[in-house]
């Protein structure tokens, strides 16, 4: 078990804002927006790939937060990941509902890999990050890139299949194997 409360400062601020938002405090939503909107838009934009659509999703995400803040449970995890999950889910729902395959941005998995490994963040975030980086680094680079591009850029199995010139089913098998070994690595260090 990793300690989660070493750097609880920002977490406590965000959790306090969510509590006020649950009490219908619009100023608290604005304060949350000021602290997190750029982070969330960054996540959405990488997946949605269209600036105007991405801002529409972000607007939707904050209205969602306005209505759902009361369902945030501090025991279930830190507030920022909870907010990021809402943003990513809405962005992915948007692109998966479109039938056309959008052109992925040209950024390679390595660029994300470098930023992921860069220093920064609170102590607890660093511990979680270091564990994930250690486990990702044991993976085959191609399969690691599949995970990173799917998570960070919203690549579908089909897009990954095109990029790596493999059948979609092969990509699905890759993802399943990769995710299973990632989980086993994170939970047992093996």
């Amino acid at each position: 078990m990793l300690p989660r409360d070493i750097d609880g400062g920002e977490d406590a601020v965000l959790a306090g804002l969510l509590e006020r938002i649950a009490g219908r405090d619009e100023a608290a939503l604005k304060a949350l927006y000021d602290r997190t909107a750029a982070k969330l838009l960054g996540l959405i934009l990488r997946i949605q790939r269209d600036r105007s659509l991405a801002e529409d999703v972000l607007q939707d995400v904050f209205l969602r937060i306005w209505h759902a803040a009361g369902s945030y449970a501090p025991a279930a995890g830190a507030p920022l990941p909870w907010l990021c999950a809402i943003a990513r889910n809405r962005a992915i729902d948007g692109v998966r509902r479109r039938s056309e395959v959008a052109m992925p941005s040209g950024e390679a998995g390595e660029a994300y890999w470098e930023r992921l490994s860069a220093p920064g963040g609170g102590e607890d975030a660093i511990l979680d990050r270091d564990a994930l980086v250690a486990c990702l680094s044991r993976l085959d680079p191609t399969q690691r890139d599949c995970v990173v591009l799917a998570y960070c850029e919203g690549w579908s199995r089909e897009e990954l299949a095109v990029r790596y010139g493999r059948p979609v089913n092969t990509v699905k098998t890759w993802l399943h194997r990769t995710l299973a070994s990632l989980k086993s690595c994170l939970e047992t260090g093996a």
């Binding site: 909107a37 479109r98 960070c152 579908s156 995710l179």
Partner: protein, 251 residues
């Protein structure tokens, strides 16, 4: 349902791929239904959100345009009236607009986002198309019951609609559905290739509504919710924006 080790493994991979984002639209919708029904699925999902969340820090932040907060504030109950330095809103207008702006904005977005995908059933073009791939339960109970979880794209379903073909009733349990001020939400049933049939108004309390007779076999039908004048559509067809849609699947 007592899942064996294989079931657990597959459930965990569904949760992992949901968080990773690689499920297709139908699989995502099915998973969202599964997580609302099954606490073990929800727990698997939380586990994967936690494991992969450090990846989010690898994504650079992007500052939103200066107008975006104003758009969000305008959809809040005060209509942004309390905002410092905000343009003054007419108070009555702001109150009347309430969340209608949010809904129409949402619909406009989904119209754009789904424009290419929405070949199906005309109505889907305006709605938050949610295709539920099922069945999730191995043995259908007698009587042909169906359930639709209707979401507006977020974590919580907006409505849970269960259809009992044997008794010809539809039960509507509103969860997160909210009518814009001065408007009603109306529930519609759309059979394959047929025009929408009104089922009734969606209030704040669970309601039991009669199923149209032609919906004897509910599978393949679609339920939709539209924003209508108070009391419902005057024409018998949806007149306002369709804010939710969901397909019926065997339970």
């Amino acid at each position: 349902m007592s899942g064996g080790r294989d079931d657990e493994g597959l459930r965990d991979l569904r949760a992992a791929e949901y968080v990773l984002g690689t499920l297709d639209a139908g699989e995502r919708a099915a998973f969202e239904l599964e997580r609302t029904l099954d606490p073990a699925t929800e727990a698997a999902l939380r586990g994967w959100e936690r494991r992969l969340s450090p990846l989010a820090r690898a994504v650079p932040a992007v500052r939103p345009g200066p107008a975006l907060w104003g758009r969000i504030a305008a959809a809040l109950p005060s209509g942004g009236a309390g905002r410092e330095g905000a343009p003054q809103h007419d108070a009555r207008l702001a109150a009347a607009g309430e969340s209608l702006r949010a809904l129409t904005r949402q619909v406009r977005f989904w119209r754009r986002a789904t424009a290419a995908a929405a070949g199906a059933a005309g109505l889907a073009a305006a709605g938050l198309a949610l295709v539920l791939a099922g069945p999730l339960r191995p043995v259908p109970p007698p009587g042909g019951r169906s359930v639709a979880v209707v979401t507006s794209g977020g974590d919580l379903p907006a409505l849970i609609v269960s259809v009992d073909a044997a008794s010809g009733t539809v039960r509507v349990r509103p969860l997160a559905a909210r009518a814009p001020a001065g408007r009603s939400l109306e529930l519609w049933y759309i059979g394959a290739g047929a025009a929408p049939r009104p089922l009734g108004l969606v209030g704040t309390e669970p309601a039991r509504l009669a199923l149209p007779s032609e919906a004897g076999s509910a599978a393949g039908g679609t339920l939709a919710v539209s924003v209508e004048p108070p009391g419902g559509s005057p024409t018998g067809q949806p007149t306002g924006p369709v804010v939710y849609t969901g397909k019926l699947i065997p339970e």
